[in-house]
């Protein structure tokens, strides 16, 4: 249709994903909710991912603090360490790290699971048996992603701030109370609200891409691996794109 095949296939996929997303919202709004399946997915997506996210967030908080210290010491602004680190953790690092970890763990899991179901024709069997496979498989997973990723991100903020607190106390001395006082002093709603809001979109992105790749998996076992792989790659890439868009929107709305 356009100048080359790659562009054509990219645009085609983008269109497919858009229609898939639209279908998700349509199906989501229809009655008959698969609530127990939703809870099951929440458990796997949220609870089971927490350990991984917590470790990553803790390390990030610690490392960022240790890395920032020399520069601040150079300026004689060592006292600003909690303020600066908490701003970067809350605004950017904790949400994005959480989303990336989820994209790796959840996105690939969903892609592989749905892909193998498609390949083994379980989805077709569901359709025959009268269950709406889209509602049962896709809507529950995507909704679970949308709800669980923000919670994971918030807990990641908490854990990373604890890591930052420990990081502050490796070389200097910052009391527990002073640290949190500085964190709450420096950060405003305009720091927290956009950061948490964008994680909903990160969750949507992870769920939709994972489900889309898995739901339309082709070519046997090889296709399952490919769909799992591309689910991670595309959703990770989309997380950064969404992050960029979110920053721009937050800036436009005055959340600076």
């Amino acid at each position: 249709m356009f100048y080359n095949k790659a562009l054509d296939s990219f645009l085609e996929e983008a269109g497919d994903i858009s229609r898939f997303t639209a279908k998700f919202f349509r199906e989501f709004l229809k009655p008959r909710y698969e609530f127990s399946e939703f809870l099951r997915q929440c458990f796997y997506i949220g609870y089971k991912s927490f350990g991984l996210v917590a470790v990553t967030a803790f390390i990030m908080g610690l490392v960022i603090t240790i890395q920032s210290r020399p520069t601040l010491v150079e300026f004689g602004a060592e006292a600003w360490l909690p303020k600066m680190v908490s701003i970067s953790l809350i605004r950017e690092i904790a949400p994005v790290i959480t989303a990336l970890i989820c994209a790796g763990k959840i996105g690939s899991g969903i892609g592989a699971e749905l892909g193998s179901m498609r390949v083994t024709e379980q989805i077709d069997a569901m359709e025959v048996s009268g269950t709406n496979p889209f509602k049962f498989l896709v809507v529950t997973r995507v909704t679970a992603c949308i709800t669980m990723v923000p919670i994971l991100a918030v807990l990641a903020i908490a854990v990373s701030l604890y890591g930052a607190y420990l990081g502050c106390n490796i070389h200097g001395v910052v009391s527990w109370k002073l640290f949190w006082n500085q964190v709450f002093e420096t950060n405003t709603f305009s720091d927290v609200v956009p950061a948490v809001t964008k994680t909903f979109f990160f969750g949507l992105d992870i769920g939709i891409i994972g489900c889309f790749k898995g739901y339309f998996s082709k070519k046997g076992t090889e296709g399952v691996g490919r769909s799992a792989n591309s689910a991670v790659v595309i959703s990770s890439l989309l997380i950064f794109v969404l992050d960029l868009v979110a920053v721009q929107i937050a800036d436009l709305l005055g959340f600076t």
Binding site: L39, C42, F43, I151, I157, N187, T188
Partner: protein
Amino acid sequence: MANPTSRNIRLGIFVLAGTVFLIVLLYMIGAKRSLFSDTFRISAQFYNVNGLMQGNNVRFSGINVGIVESVEINTDSTVNVVMLIEDKAKIYIKKNALASIGTDGLMGNKLVNINSMKDGSVAHIEDGDILKTLKPIETDEMLRTLSTTNDNIKVITGDLKNITQKFNKRNSLWSLLQDTIVADNLKEAIVNIKITGARTAIITGDLQEVAKSFKSGKGLMASLLTDTTMAGKLQHTIVKLENASDKIAYVSGDLSGITAKIKDGKGTIGMLITDSLFVKDLKSTMKNLNSGVAGFDDNMEGLKHSFLLKKYFRKQAKLKAKKPN
């Protein structure tokens, strides 16, 4: 695999933990921004707010008491800043408090400083009050002033350099400054001057008194100087004295004549004084007289014992003996 109930419980804990932390985070931030405590509004009009923004802190005596709610341009020379202040600070801020734009640290956020004035008799601030403001110190202006100050300092230090160099070159000045004897002498001289001054004061006091008594007409000199009748008398006396002295001259002229005569040996006194022969005669006469008197004494003794006069002498002796009783 665990049963659905325990899975759901763990999920619930997880979700609750996340939600609670989010709420706590938001609440703590809100509490710091004083969004949940009772507040009141005051405003202040500044000439220049130096980049003050909505949400900046408001400090009273260095303590955060609120936030800036809005910053709006009012007229071409005033900017209206509305501040949201916590109710608990209301009792400390007075109506005459002074608002100024400050900076948190050297490069930190802008903030509004409210400082109380010393006069404590003013009423507490109320909702909607407008505070007086202080023109903020601008860095540019400060640097401009500093540069002129620097120029002045440059000139002054140059002069100082010259002066000290001159000092160093001249030993006499140094020795004068360092000489303790000169200093002692000076001290002594000053003490003497002091004493002299004190005495002068006394003398002038006395003089004053004298002058006063002169004026009031006490004493001879005063009467001499002031009394006119006295002057008349004095004149009269002098005239008399003149006459007297004329007479004295006349008398002394007579006297000189007498003495001349005495010298010439005229008269008895003159002879007595001048004639040496007569003196010898006088001496021998006196000797003769003495011997004559001795002879007379013998004659008188003889008379006493003569029968003619015996009776008389006895009577005389008896009278002498009675007299002491």
